[in-house]
Structure formats: structure tokens, C-alpha cells
Amino acid sequence: MQRFVREPLVHFLLLALLVFGAYGLVSRREPATATIDVTQAKIEQLAGLFAKTWQRPPTAQELKGLIDDYVKEDIYVREALRLGLDTDDEVIRKRLRMKMEFVSDAEAEATPPTDIQLQAYMDAHPEAFRKPPQIAFEQVYINPDKHSPDASAAATALLEPLRKDASYAATAGDPSLLPPSLPLTDQQGIAQIFGDDFVAAIITLAPGEWEGPVSSAVGLHLVKVTDRAPGILPALGDIRPAVEREWMNDHRNAVEQQRFDDLLKRYKVTVEPISADGSPPP
């Protein structure tokens, strides 16, 4: 494995720029006199990073390649900075911005929240943590394509046999990929499979008996609601990781905003007038 960097096109183009575009600029200046010390610590770090990817130390030749490449990169970076090539580079700017955000993140995450803070957060945002109500049911599917013109009548005709014979549900109705029954599932989960109309219809069904027909996006259904569970707000102890995650998310955003506001105070920002409707200047 060679650790020689294969220069991406962008580097090539930047190099071309250096040679052709900036030659005059460079030549007008005094030649740079700078030293690059590749310290023992740096060599250890290069070798260490290689080992972290490849799970073995570099060979002598690879290490030389790593060092040569580091020197090359360092010279390019220094020259690029000298030429101002870092300014107006979207990639570099975004990366620096990201690192500033990381610094603020690290600060926000340095102190974990206490139970008291988390309980207060839960009290303030109960809806975010409430377990939605759930419904369990069985269903028998009637495919309207196979019972035109009156699928509803075909469905209704099945109600009586279903109510009389508990084992009939296992075979009644039309073939389908739909699950014949769902365990306790929240409305969103049911809607994922059966659609919103179906959910709206079964919410009102009395449990314990075959009812219907109920229509869904795929056809008609006879439905027996078998169980219901009300929505509850769990105790903090049962959902602490989720509460901590949400708390931290808010906290991190607040800290970042605070740090940014502090920085903003150090700048005087002037914006030239824009048109009244906010559209860009012509």
C-alpha cells in the first residue's frame, strides 16, 4: 500500500493556478525563507494515524512516503495561505465554521444534565415524550376489484360468519400482503400500513366484536379491535436517554447561539440596503 496522496483534480487545478495564475505575484515577492521541522512527535503521529487505518506500523518506505507527503502538503498549505487561496474557498470556510461549532458543542456537552434539570424539561415538554395511544386489532380484507360492483355488500356478508366462528378469520376474505392482525400499535404505525382513513375509522370501533366494513387506501376491511392502550407519559427513569438527548439538543443550540451572540458583539456589521420586498439587488 502506498501512502502517496493521489492528487484530486481540485489540487491539480489549484496547482495549475499557482503555476500560471500566480507566478507573477510570487515572483514579485522576496523568496520565502521558512523552515519545516518534521519533529519526532509529528513522525509518531503520522505513523500512528497510518496504523489506526491499516492496523500495522508503516514500513520504512511507507514512513518516508508519509513524511515526504506531509512536507509537500505543508509547503502547499503555507504557499496557499501566503497567496490568500484560503479566502473565498467555500470548502475551507465551511470546515472552519464546522470546527467553531464543534468547539461550542464540546463546551455544551462537557456538563451532563441532572435529574432535576431533566424532570423540569419533561414537565415543560410533555408532548414530546408522551407514548401515543395504541390499538391492537384483527382484520379481514376484501379486494374491491374482485367483488364489483358491490364490494361493500360482499364484505357485510362476511360479518355474521366471522362473529359466529372465531376460527373463520384465519381464512376469510381475499389474499393480501396486509397483516391479518397487529399487536398494540400507535396510530402512526397503523397508518404506515393501512393509511390515515383506516385509522380514523377504527379509532371509534368498539372492541371485542367484528365490525365494518371500513375502507382503506387498498380496499375494504372487517375489523375486530382486540385491545387498546391509552397514551401515557412515562416516568423519567424509563426514558432517561431520550430526555437527555432532547435536553442536550436544546442546550447545545442555546450554547451555540450564546457563543455566537458573544462573538457578534465583537463585530460591527453593515449591510447595504436591499429592496423593500427583500429581493436581491438587480
Binding site: 500500500m1 502506498q2 501512502r3 496522496v5 493521489r6 483534480l9 481540485v10 487545478l13 519533529t39 512527535a41 509529528k42 503521529q45 500512528g48 494515524l49 496504523a51 489506526k52 487505518t53 491499516w54 492496523q55 490568500g84 479566502t87 473565498d88 474557498d89 467555500e90 470548502v91 465551511k94 470546515r95 464546522m98 470546527k99 464543534f102 468547539v103 464540546a106 463546551e107 462537557a110 379486494n143 376489484d145 374482485k146 360482499a154 381464512t171 376469510a172 376474505g173 381475499d174 389474499p175 393480501s176 400482503l177 397483516p179 391479518p180 392482525s181 402512526q188 404506515q192 393509511g195 383506516f198 382503506s216 387506501a217 387498498v218 380496499g219 431520550a242 439538543n249 458573544d262 462573538l263
Partner: protein, 642 residues
């Protein structure tokens, strides 16, 4: 000078984006059956031995599809950031879980329905080390300078600490303890921490993953997503492979092998966008131009069980020039060039698309002993906005430069002197459906590994596909087709071996519409093989369809029709079927020849995202912009080996 720099930065960003960026036999075959009435208990008893009261007892196969996107970039990908994406992995995860987030351009964004899982796959090239002090790390705390920085951060002076760190680094006065690579904070470790926080077994799966983005030879797309089965503890043991390390996929496979040896964990890689590889994705020689070997084929098949067949940058199933008799082949094509805009030459397209690769794989298996292209199908969005949107009416685009706006359709997504790809050419695709036993990293990853998963262009259709020797029409008439499927055959991704004397393979296929999307037009089984002379062959069989249509004299099923009202971006489900189920037997089976079969499900026409944009922004796009789409699903194949 400044302008030139900006131009180059733009070009660089563009480059990085690039980086990231039949016969109707079914109708004639007496085994095929679509017209099935209500089944009664007698008929069911006839089809199946009597079971106990609970129909679910003893059932341990996957009964649910878990929906996800294995290909999401955030602002942490340098190219995404360059286009203005400010959302990070945390935003991407919250969005995928169904929460509302604010897009990089300030637009509120929310999915119609949550996803069950996601893999955030930022480019590994940007996942490298940055100096950062980890909170209270005891090894760091023994160094007074590191401890000072930590305390500064803890007491709210993070920015000052950072500037001191930067100064120290530039003066080479960084405490030696921080030069220990185990302590050097990488973006990778930050990424894996976030994935860990949002991964909730049973509710939402956040895979650890990255994209290794090789653009060999100047833009030939050999990209792979690496997906981890395991958690942070193992993922952090090695830094991800970058293209600075190597652009050769064989080196990625070596890296994966090393990682597994070291950690005892499991990885798989998912290639994508062969359509932008200029003939390299399924080339018949190695990266370095050498002949393929058995060892190479084994290695590729081991690490790459899945292929991303459809995404925003085009559909990769097949190409009209390769499948001239397939009227659905010309679908969302990006076929002019590679990612850097290098135009395609004759002979490249043959090695870029999945259907031909499946057939080529059978031929290679005959000569090498192993099929290197034995893959199933997944989708991804490859979004660079952090927003995993694949629905036509909620499409946030390839990157932040083409997030919803009145002009995005005419913006350039890729622009080089030879090739321009316009905004309207983006495909709002796609999601992956996984038949897994539960929503956990392990269960979903295992299903991907065994190829029990399928691709759609966005809608969440349910699709089952089983192969066996003894399926009969009654198997399609039961309440639980999967019971027969698993009992008598293998699911998608499986193998059929050595045909019993006189038997042809039979297939049980079933599809159900997405409740929020269009009805189904037809379900097809596509067969690919190499004939006795070694020539690649393919055939598309319609096996079930809607509205009682009859194939024409040319054997072709008439089009399903079109209810789309483009001006209002609406349609009606007055055509098409909500469900299609069929048992089909291969009428042209030759037991001596290897063959591969997969299902393609086609929806009725619905409004394309361009129609929604036109309506919402009150604009008029040019005539050449397609306004309707027939969404589809591709299942992972089933292989027959003599």
C-alpha cells in the same frame, strides 16, 4: 485573482459533488393466476395442512418491512457544505425519525411518515482527525496544559481554549499526550457518538457508516457506502478508509477485512451510480486492468452483497440501448458522462447497469467458479441536504443549491464544458424496504447481507418474492402468502439449485400499493441469463396486472392509462390495482443454464416532483421536462444454479 480562486473553489466543489455526487408468457401460462375469488375454509384446508388456533405460532420469518435510506450526506461532507448545507448528522437523524427540521435554506421540512432506519454516509475523506479535547479523558488530564483547556471548555471558555489550542498547534507546543493517535479526536468519533445516541433498538435504527468516494481516473464513479453492523465501540477502533489512502476498491475490501479481523464486527459495502462510472462499475477486469480471478470474485461477492440500483443521480437498472424491447427501460437516465463530465464512449454502458451485470455474473461464475456480481438491490437518496426525501411531493433535491425554489428545475446540477445536467433531471428516489424480524442494527444489517430487501423509487410498496419448485396457484390465494413462500421456497436473495427432473422454477410474487401513492399497473418478473453460446439474454414477463387488460398481437400489455392532472399535480386511483399476487412458472426454462430472476413492480402514472414544483411555484417549465412518473420497485433476485 479573487475571481479565479472563487471559480476554482466552485470547480472543486463541483468535483467533490461528483465525488459524492418480452413475451407475455405469464398471460398464457395456465399456472399464472390473477383472478382469484374469496377463499373459503374448504379451499384453504385443501391448500394447507390444518394448523393450531393461532395462525402465528411457529412463525419466525420476517413479517414486516422496515423502510430506510442507506445514503444520506450532511453538511459534514465537504461538497455538501460547499453547496450551503448547514444541517449536520444530528439534524439528518431527527428528520429521518419523522421530526420537523429547518432546511439549510430556512424551509421547514418533515417526512410524510418517519423512516425506520437510516445510514448517514458522509464522505470519509472529510472524517479525519481534528484536535479536540475529549471530555475529562483521564489520560489527557494528567497533562497540565490539556487539563487547563478542558477546564476552560467546561467553564464556558471553549472558544478561548480553542484559540489556545490552535496557537499551540501552530507553535508545535501541543502537549505530547495529545499526539497519541488514540486521543486525537476525529470527526469520525463525533459522528459515531451521534449515531449511538439516536440508535434506539426496536424503534429507530441509526447505522454507523461512511461513503468511500473513489473517482478514479477523473470522475469514474466507484463510490461505496460502508455500513457497520456494530456500534461505536468497534467502529472507533479504526479510522475509515479514505480515497487519500487508495482509490482502488480492492484496497477498501482489504481495509474491511482488517477491520473485521481486529474488531470481530461485520461490515458490508454498497456500490452506487455505475451509470456514472464510464464502464468501470462492472468492468471485466480489475482496477489495475488485470484479468478477473476467482479470488477477486469471491472478495467482491463477500463484501458487496447489495447494489444501490436507484437514487437521485439516476436509475441504474438497465438502459434502453441494452434492453430495446423493455418499454420501461428508459427511466430517469443520467447516461451522458461520468461524474466529472467526461463523455461516455461506445462500450462503456454495457458495464454500468445492474441487469447486465447480473447476467454477466452468471457467465463469470461459469468461468471463475464464483459469481462476483451476485447482489441484491437497495435504494438510497444520496441527498447532500441532510434531508432523506424520496417522495415526489416532498422532494428537497440533490444538494442545497437545488432545494425547493422556482428556478431549481433549470439550475445546473453538474456542469462541465461537455456535459450539463439540469435540475429537472434529478430523480426523487429512493427508499429501501427490508424484510427483517425487528428494527435493530443487527436484524436489518443481516437482512441486507442475505439480500432480503428491495429497492423502490420512493413509494413504500410491500413486495414479496419467493422461488421454489412446487408453487401452485393456490399459494397465491391464502391469507398469508408468506407462509407458503417460506415453507415451499426461498425469499428474495435466495438460491435455487439443481432442478428436480422435469421441473421448472416457480415463483410466488406479491405486491401491495403504498397507501399514499398510486395504484399498481403491473408486476413483472425479469429473467437474465447467458445462453449456451455465452451471449447475454434477458426477458421481461408480465405476471400480474390491473384492469383486466389483454396483451396485444405483439404480446405487449397495453399501457394502463394516465389520470394525472399536471396543472393541479393530482391523480386518481381509478385505474390500476391496490394489490397484485401471482404464481408464475418459467416457460422457457433450460435446466442446464444458470439464470437470475427478479421482480419489478410498476405503479400507474403519478405527478413527478417537477409537476408539484410547477404547481406550487406557479411556473411553467419547458416542454422537454417530464411531468409524470411511473414509480417502481425492484426486488433482490433469486438465482438458479444447475
Amino acid at each position: 485573482m479573487k475571481d479565479l480562486t472563487r471559480g476554482l473553489a466552485w470547480l472543486g466543489a463541483l468535483y467533490l459533488l461528483g465525488v459524492s455526487m418480452s413475451a407475455m408468457a405469464g398471460a398464457q401460462d395456465p399456472v399464472a393466476s390473477d383472478d382469484i375469488g374469496i377463499i373459503n375454509p374448504e379451499a384453504a384446508a385443501h391448500a394447507f395442512p390444518k394448523r393450531g388456533f393461532s395462525p402465528y405460532a411457529g412463525r419466525n420469518y420476517p413479517t414486516r418491512v422496515f423502510w430506510g435510506d442507506q445514503h444520506v450526506h450532511t453538511g459534514w461532507s465537504a461538497d455538501a457544505g460547499a453547496f450551503g448545507a448547514t444541517l449536520g448528522p444530528e439534524d439528518a437523524l431527527r428528520f429521518a425519525r419523522g421530526e420537523q427540521v429547518t432546511s439549510s435554506l430556512g424551509e421547514p421540512a418533515k417526512l410524510s411518515r418517519p423512516l425506520d432506519w437510516v445510514a448517514v454516509t458522509d464522505h470519509s475523506d472529510a472524517a479525519g482527525v481534528i484536535f479536540e479535547i475529549r471530555d475529562g479523558n483521564p489520560n489527557l488530564m494528567i497533562d497540565p496544559i490539556a487539563k487547563r483547556w478542558h477546564d476552560m471548555m467546561a467553564s464556558g471558555q471553549g472558544v478561548q481554549a480553542a484559540s489556545e489550542m490552535i496557537a499551540a498547534q501552530s507553535n508545535n507546543k501541543v502537549p505530547s499526550v495529545m499526539k497519541d493517535p488514540r486521543l486525537a479526536m476525529s470527526i469520525w468519533e463525533k459522528n459515531t457518538s451521534i449515531m449511538e445516541k439516536y440508535n434506539e433498538p426496536g424503534r429507530f435504527t441509526a447505522f454507523i457508516g461512511y461513503e468511500w468516494t473513489s473517482n478514479a481516473g477523473g470522475g469514474d464513479n466507484l463510490h461505496r457506502n460502508v455500513i457497520y453492523r456494530d456500534g461505536k465501540d468497534k467502529a472507533d477502533e479504526m479510522l475509515p478508509m479514505t480515497t487519500f489512502d487508495s482509490e482502488n476498491p480492492e484496497d477498501l475490501w482489504k481495509w474491511m477485512s482488517k477491520w473485521e479481523e481486529k474488531t470481530g464486527g461485520s461490515l458490508l459495502a454498497i456500490p452506487h451510480n455505475g451509470n456514472l462510472s464510464n464502464g468501470k462499475m462492472f468492468a471485466l477486469n480489475t482496477f489495475e486492468g488485470n484479468p478477473l480471478t476467482r479470488d477477486w470474485a469471491e472478495t467482491r461477492a463477500r463484501w458487496e452483497p447489495m447494489y444501490e440500483i436507484t437514487q437521485i443521480k439516476g436509475d441504474g437498472e438497465t438502459h434502453p440501448s441494452l434492453s430495446p424491447s423493455d418499454e420501461f427501460a428508459n427511466f430517469e437516465k443520467w447516461d451522458a458522462a461520468n461524474l466529472a463530465g467526461v463523455p461516455k464512449q461506445p462500450g462503456m454502458i454495457e458495464h454500468e447497469y445492474a441487469r447486465q451485470a447480473l447476467a454477466e455474473g452468471l457467465k463469470l461464475e461459469a468461468s471463475l467458479g464464483v459469481n462476483p456480481f451476485k447482489f441484491g438491490f437497495v435504494s438510497g437518496t444520496d441527498t447532500h441536504t441532510g434531508l432523506a426525501t424520496a417522495e415526489e411531493d416532498n422532494f428537497f433535491g440533490k444538494h442545497t443549491g437545488v432545494e425547493p425554489s422556482p428556478h431549481r428545475w433549470e439550475h445546473d446540477v453538474i456542469k462541465t464544458p461537455q456535459v450539463t445536467v439540469k435540475g429537472w433531471q434529478m430523480a426523487a428516489a429512493g427508499y429501501t424496504g427490508v424484510w427483517a424480524t425487528e428494527n435493530t442494527r443487527e436484524a436489518i444489517w443481516d437482512a441486507l447481507k442475505r439480500k432480503e430487501a428491495y429497492s423502490t423509487t420512493g413509494p413504500r410498496m410491500l413486495v414479496r418474492f419467493f422461488g421454489g419448485w412446487d408453487f401452485v396457484p393456490a399459494d397465491a390465494q391464502t391469507r398469508m402468502p408468506a407462509d407458503a413462500g417460506y415453507a415451499k421456497g426461498v425469499p428474495m436473495g435466495g438460491d435455487l439449485q439443481t432442478a428436480p427432473a422435469g421441473k421448472s422454477p416457480t415463483f410466488l410474487a406479491a405486491a401491495m400499493k403504498d397507501p399514499l401513492s398510486g395504484n399498481l399497473d403491473r408486476m413483472q418478473i425479469i429473467k437474465a441469463w447467458a445462453d449456451a453460446s455465452g451471449k447475454l439474454q434477458e426477458k421481461v414477463y408480465d405476471v400480474a396486472w390491473s384492469d383486466g387488460r389483454k396483451p396485444g398481437a405483439d404480446g405487449k400489455l397495453p399501457p394502463v392509462g394516465n389520470t394525472v392532472d399536471v396543472d393541479n399535480a393530482t391523480w386518481t386511483n381509478t385505474i390500476g390495482s391496490p394489490e397484485l399476487i401471482s404464481v408464475w412458472k418459467d416457460p422457457d426454462f433450460d435446466p442446464k443454464l444458470r439464470a437470475v430472476y427478479y421482480v419489478r413492480v410498476i405503479e400507474i402514472p403519478t405527478p413527478r416532483w417537477t409537476a408539484y414544483d410547477q404547481k406550487r411555484f406557479g411556473i411553467k417549465m419547458s416542454e422537454n421536462v417530464p411531468m409524470t412518473v411511473q414509480e417502481r420497485a425492484y426486488t433482490s433476485p433469486i438465482w438458479y444454479t444447475p
